[in-house]
């Protein structure tokens, strides 16, 4: 289960605040995954006191609203990433960025599909630059794209381009993941699925033996 409480002293109308919060949740908490289990209790509550003295924001289409939205996105993304970073048994955070989609929502769906893939997560834990599993998880996201446009990078290593697997330094790619695991850092996966304007990001973590151990012992 994830829980969140967010507070601000900005002044904003109820309708605008409720829309802003949903947009931020979609760009943050709804884009993380550890084990694919959606809890019965997930909740984010956001409260705005208005005590900063700003003018009341009553429309989404103003620069003040846009700025507050960016601040809210930043706080929620920072918290959401820390949840994925702290995934049960995790040794590293996995950040999956997708570009070239038709729109933000489709890119986000592909990104989360890859971040949720147990086989991709296990490969990261095994420090295996397994581009095939990443391509597979992108392919079953439910978003149509031309596989001959698929491009996949792991950190700075290009693994696939134009839908064609490339020769790459597998030792360097593996060491990139090993270093991230040793420092509880971040493994970055960059994917492009076409030429569209849509981009999105999702966060997950690698799948280790400890995840099973922790959850085999934790019982209802």
């Amino acid at each position: 289960t994830m829980l969140g409480v967010v507070t601000t002293d900005a002044s904003v109308t109820s309708d605008v605040w409720r829309r802003m919060v949903q947009v931020s949740v979609n760009r943050s908490f709804n884009q993380i995954t550890v084990d694919g289990d959606t809890s019965t209790n997930d909740a984010v509550i956001a409260l705005a006191s208005g005590l900063s003295g700003t003018n009341k924001i009553s429309s989404l289409n103003t620069s003040e609203a846009n700025h507050l939205q960016r601040c809210l996105d930043a706080v929620m993304q920072g918290l959401a990433k820390s949840i994925a970073w702290d995934g049960e048994g995790a040794t590293c955070l996995i950040e999956v960025r997708v570009a070239g989609a038709e729109n933000e929502a489709e890119a986000a769906k592909v990104a989360r599909s890859v971040a949720s893939s147990s086989l991709t997560k296990a490969a990261v834990y095994g420090r295996d630059p397994n581009w095939g599993r990443i391509a597979c998880a992108a392919g079953y996201a439910g978003i149509p794209f031309n596989p001959n446009k698929l491009q996949i990078s792991l950190g700075d290593t290009l693994l696939m381009d134009g839908g064609q697997p490339l020769p790459f330094d597998s030792v360097a790619a593996s060491n990139y993941m090993r270093k991230a695991g040793e420092t509880h850092g971040t493994v970055e996966v960059h994917i492009s699925i076409g030429d569209g304007p849509g981009s999105g990001v999702a966060w997950g973590c690698d799948l280790s033996y400890d995840y099973v151990k922790i959850n085999a012992e934790y019982t209802t």
């Binding site: 289960t1 409480v5 507070t7 949903q22 209790n41 984010v44 700025h67 820390s82």
Partner: protein
């Protein structure tokens, strides 16, 4: 207050918060950074093992504009159903009460009654209307909350409320379950020429694939 709050944040380290770049700077604290907010965390005897804080409270000095996003899992926990009703009936709220230990999910009508009793008790203590009190729970699914322990802890929890960084940190620890780190952050920026602050706390480590609306 400081000694209890200080002690709470000693239980587990704070997570590194990876903030995106932008026109803001990170400042200390979390939910109490913004003007008008207080928080507290304490051990109320709800956890099955150990004495890590397990009860948190966040309050606002004024009627705060409220918003929420909740799981789309149809077996929604009692506090989720309660909060959706509360948000539908009031555009503002004044307090968020959070317990760890039991999720109060799959607990049927008795579980929902427990939420009502907890929100009523806190509303009475803070002289608020019920729907101004929101509630979040996390922990073992299928177990009702240890209501007596929770209700008995409320007066002390209210007395510990603080607008300090320690208040925010102790609340962030108290909401954790299998987390290895607490999650809390705050930023400061300028909107329309006026300084604003946005802060938050979160928990989560397992059963994580949120689908909230």
């Amino acid at each position: 207050v400081a000694s209890v709050a200080k002690e709470a944040s000693n239980y587990i380290p704070a997570a590194p918060i990876l903030l995106p770049e932008g026109p803001w700077q990170q400042i200390p604290g979390g939910v109490t950074a913004a003007i008008g907010f207080k928080a507290a965390g304490m051990y109320g005897g709800l956890r099955a093992l150990g004495e890590k804080p397990d009860l948190a409270l966040v309050t606002c000095d004024v009627d705060a504009i409220s918003a929420g996003a909740f799981t789309k899992n149809v077996v929604a926990a009692a506090p989720v159903v309660y909060c959706k009703n509360a948000l539908n009936s009031s555009p503002t709220a004044r307090a968020v009460l959070i317990n760890a230990g039991q999720a109060n999910a799959a607990t049927g009508d008795a579980g929902y009654q427990d939420v009502i009793e907890c929100s009523t008790a806190l509303a009475n203590l803070l002289h608020l209307k019920n729907e101004e009190v929101l509630i979040e729970s996390t922990g073992v699914i299928g177990r009702r909350i240890k209501k007596e322990a929770l209700l008995n802890s409320l007066p002390k929890l209210v007395s510990l409320l603080s607008s300090s960084v320690e208040g925010a940190n102790s609340a962030a620890v108290a909401i954790t379950t299998t987390d290895l780190v607490s999650k809390s952050v705050a930023i400061e920026s300028e909107v329309g020429g006026t300084r604003i602050r946005v802060g938050g706390m979160a928990k989560g480590s397992g059963m994580i694939h949120p689908n909230m609306a």
